[in-house]
Amino acid sequence: MNTSKLLKAKHQRLILLVIALVVLTGAGLLAAWALRSQASYFYVPSDIQADPPEIGVAVRLGGIVEKGSLQTAPDGVTIDFVVEDGKARTPVRFSGITPALFVEGSGVVAEGRLADGGVFIADNLLAKHDEKYVPREMADMTKARDAMAQTQ
């Protein structure tokens, strides 16, 4: 039997260890790089105004749906509305079935991207699932509530 292909025991262990480390470190570095470029950042309308994301990059937009801004397009499934946080406003367009708790004046998180012309195209709208659930990102939306009060 050909044993010359077999390594010495301690060499084998070392080589296996090195392979495992190289692959795992490689995976870690790859992951780190991919996370930085592919993670979806969270914006409120003021952020969009001050430091807008690149056109077409997947981000999330959170805020309050401005009262009176909700309009349904003639196709019956596309809606236009404005998300605001008391300081700035961002127009949003969404095609699809809106989640149940989505009404004017309520909080919303939209997943999508900024398009040319400053309109946010939403692929997905997220609503609350629990009466006491406030998404952590919106915990400092005191300014939003402020603004809402002023529009009353």
């Binding site: 301690k10 070392l14 004046g105 939306m141 509530r145 009060a149 009353q152």
Partner: protein
Amino acid sequence: MSEAPAPRRAGLWLWVPLAVFAGFFVLVMTGLLAPADREVASAMIGKPLPQFDLRPAVPGRPGVSTAQLADGKPRLLNVFASWCIPCIAEAPQLEALARQGVEIDGIAIRDRTQDVERFLDANGNPYQRIGADDLSQVQMSIGSSGVPETFVIDGKGIIRHQHIGDIRAEDVPKLIEKLREAGQ
């Protein structure tokens, strides 16, 4: 011939998993400790109530409106619901406050008349007025994000204090103190 022991360098690598776990632990600790306070305090404290006018939630009590709340007398505004369990826990405290002469108005959110009636029958009715806020719109406009929450409103309709969560026995004196301050 005895087998060679694992090279000493390999010995150091054995501690790598532990180091990785330690890193995870630190990361997660900061995540846990940092936003320890998940309560969303209202930015409305010191601001006047927004304008609203809620229809009565049950027959037998009038609805709640901003105009009535600014009639010169400080009062408590309690946000509750028939399906809210901690609201049951605070019912005795509300009762105690009402017996001491405190005026309490209620806002029932996302509720049905028969359920609110059932809740009041079972737990007592300390409210002078109860408004129905079907979509939580008024609740959110006054800066409340959950149930139960209680606000101290002064005679001019300005929000002076917010109590988040159910009112425990030890919270009662503080609320009375806030009401007294609001009256000055």
